[in-house]
């Protein structure tokens, strides 16, 4: 809350404080302010939630193949990293993928306009187009009964896009394109065969798509750029917006599971989005104004307003019913609440961003998902991480996924720490940034509360 400087002095037990603020301080203290926070109590995950998540899957992701025609220097499945299944040019088992698809269609209750996304992920998914075509065909047949709002999505490097444009457009695919900016910016994304920059081919294909299907392009194509030492936020926005009229999502290089021998290489390539943003937003330009809502601080303010501030209840109506919140530790999605991933090794995971060693089931002759075991596993992590969460100032929203916390599988061992823990000082700094941003853009307050919905 906005506090008079004298109130701050009173809280710091300074001398020579305006008596009114001494009185106000005492009043607020008597009503629970300025007291040491009580350790937060957390809920446990219940099997029924996992069961229900599986019954109502919203997205099925297929790791179509682990092959890729590019060999991007920073690829999470490349030489810099460990912790993934070895890349052996293996395609997904179509029979098992269909088995999973039928299982989901059978299980998911019929509900008018309920969304079901079917997503293709790789490697480069377009290297196994036969599979994609089969799945599209079968899902359409299965959907004759259930009538879901079916949507196909794909993450692609676009170098093979020219071969399949008509099919993708006809089936209204949503495409997430990996593009790091202009030719120099994109230079880590090279072809496997000759190590040449893939930029020209990517641009050529995107230009064709935009020229032949301009409407489709504007509604169904989005971009993801990786920030590193060969590009900058300004260059990324500048190139992609100028050429394709789109604001890309910008992500950082993955800093988890880096092979110890490659740490220096990664360090030299790494650039934080926060720093890059700060640099980019030093000047006021059309581009900074245009990308205001994509800025990191806008996102932090959003998370603060939606998960922490007094207006928390607007997006957490359920909590209004309980005296004690029923929150689970960390910001981890409950298992399969967002999606289910089938890998090319028949493993089932709740997300493609989780190490495959945390696989939570398999597709064999049956769909093997042991709900009790999955629930128990999550509760094991929750039980051990919550000793940090209980006194963490960011306990309501830390943005951390359990599976991205180092050594989470050793959470019960001595010496385990949560590297995302925020003490009072960390949180104070965070608030300072958020409030400084809001002072500069006060209209964002109502704008976020009214118009931004976190899915």
């Amino acid at each position: 809350m906005l506090a008079h400087p004298e109130l701050e002095k009173a809280s710091e037990k300074s001398t020579d404080v305006d008596p009114y603020y001494l009185k106000k301080y005492a009043y607020l203290k008597a009503h629970g302010f300025f007291t040491k926070p009580k350790p937060t109590k957390f809920a446990v995950l219940e099997e029924s939630i996992v069961e229900d998540n599986i019954r109502n899957i919203k997205q099925v992701v297929f790791e179509v193949t682990d092959s890729c025609n590019l060999n991007c220097t920073y690829c999470a499945f490349g030489e810099l990293y460990e912790g993934y299944d070895e890349r052996i040019s293996k395609k997904i088992d179509t029979r098992k993928a269909i088995h999973l698809l039928k299982f989901i269609f059978d299980l998911k209750p019929k509900k008018k306009n309920d969304k079901l996304a079917i997503s293709f992920y790789g490697g480069e998914p377009l290297l196994n187009m036969q599979f994609i075509k089969q799945i599209v065909e079968i899902s359409k047949q299965l959907n004759l009964v259930k009538q879901f709002d079916l949507e196909y999505t794909m993450t692609t490097n676009t170098t093979l896009l020219h071969k399949y444009i008509d099919f993708l457009v006809t089936n209204n695919f949503r495409l997430l394109i990996s593009l790091d900016g202009n030719e120099k910016c994109h230079s880590y994304r090279t072809f496997s065969k000759d190590k040449k920059n893939s930029f020209q081919k990517v641009i050529e294909n995107l230009d064709i798509l935009q020229r032949d299907y301009p409407e489709y392009f504007s509604t169904n194509v989005s971009f993801n750029a990786v920030l590193h030492n060969r590009n900058s936020i300004k260059e990324i926005y500048d190139f992609i917006y100028t050429r394709y009229n789109q604001i890309p999502r910008i992500s950082e290089l993955n800093t988890r599971n880096v092979r110890s021998c490659n740490k220096n290489i990664l360090d030299s390539m790494y650039q934080s989005v926060a720093k890059g943003e700060a640099e980019f937003r030093k000047e006021d330009s059309d581009l900074t104004r245009l990308t205001h809502r994509n800025s990191l601080l806008f996102s932090e303010l959003t998370n603060y307003l939606k998960y922490v501030s007094i207006n928390y209840y607007i997006s957490n109506i359920r909590e209004l019913l309980y005296n004690i919140e029923r929150q689970l530790p960390t910001s981890t999605c409950t298992p399969f609440s967002k999606k289910i991933l089938l890998t090319n090794r028949n493993k089932l995971l709740p997300c493609e961003r989780i190490d495959y060693r945390y696989s939570m089931g398999k597709v064999n002759e049956d769909i093997e998902l042991d709900i009790s075991e999955i629930t128990e596993q999550y509760n094991f992590y929750y039980k051990h991480i919550q000793k940090f969460c209980q006194t963490c100032y960011a306990y309501r929203y830390c943005g951390s996924c359990l599976f991205h916390i180092e050594n989470i599988d050793k959470a019960n061992e001595e010496g385990f720490v949560c590297q995302h823990f925020q003490n009072q000082e960390d949180f104070r700094n965070k608030l300072k940034n958020i409030f400084t941003f809001l002072e500069k853009y006060p209209k964002d307050y109502a704008e976020i509360l009214k118009n931004v919905v976190i899915e």
């Binding site: 029924s48 209750p109 007094i310 207006n311 359920r318």
Partner: protein, 386 residues
Amino acid sequence: MMIMKKVSDYWFTLEPYVFVDIKNKHALLYNTLDGVIIESANDKIIKILHETLQEENCGVTLLTNEQYQQKEINCFICELREKFMGDVIDVSLSNGKPVQMLPFYNYSKEQELYKKNNFSSYKNVLEKLFEISLHIDVTTNITKLIHFLATLPKNLTFNIIGNMEGVLNYSELLSYLDQYSSPKNLLCSYKNLIALQPIFENNFSYQISVCFPIDAERWNRVMEILLSQTLPAEFVFEVSSEDDVQQSEQLIEQYQIDKYQLKPNYTGNNICFFEEEVFLSKEDILSTSLTMKDLFARQAMNTYDFGKINIMPNGDVYANLNHPLLGNIYANNIHEILHKEVEEGKSWLRVRNQAPCTDCVYQWICPPPSNYEIIVGRPNLCHVKE
């Protein structure tokens, strides 16, 4: 206490724990920390409050020295500060215009705001369900009912309502519910209370309704049954008159009943009793201590009905028995039923947003609309807006 005279301008702000409502040139400020209020009908003060609440002002407005010196504004600020409900800060103490994160309410489309934030197709509507009332009679198909219950979360509160005596395999239902640790309430009239087998004592309790006149023989039987077992029991005395109230009090005293409620019962011809006992005066409304969370709840949902459904003996489902049917458990799955309530229903999101309450400054301080409003046929049961 008077603030020192300065020539400077001020930032005026309200504290985030203060609830503000302005209707028809009448402002109410309610301190959710201690229930203290300030009311004002002064144009200048209302203008300042309106400015403070304007979205682009983000909880802070400029108060010029000239405004500050005006008697009525100065008095208002003194009262506001005395009650710790707001403050003025010399503009020279900050580099720019500060912000205050006030609760975001009185937004004209609150219901849409809550709907889009909480009930999109990406959110699990089952997480909002927390209580089921099972209305049982001889026609209930217990096996099919259990089959439906198996598709629901296991942490719900269950109310089993009706005369169990006639239901052949009710113990099958109780056995099913017994495996869950969540609360299970057996709601019945004192005239047909049954003794529960000791094996069903996992978090079961009785809620016994009592209508007048009392059947002494059956009342005594209830007392015997309750003495013979350890289940907690709550009595609900359905009172239609002052006489019923007195009789209830006698029974409570005579049998030393410590857990009970007196529930007014509208018969169609006892409106005077309701006006006396149920209708709220301004003092009644303001006597309740409300937290900011309570105030959010009153604008977001109907706290009597939200998260609850009723399943009738034939499988029909209602969120509130006074409102339209949502579906049937033999034909619809739980998601279809709950989505119908969210999209078209009248119960979960029924808030006090009808005239004359919309013109009343106590609109959100007042309790949410209950079944009495529906039965009596009036949107407000108060003496504030007669």
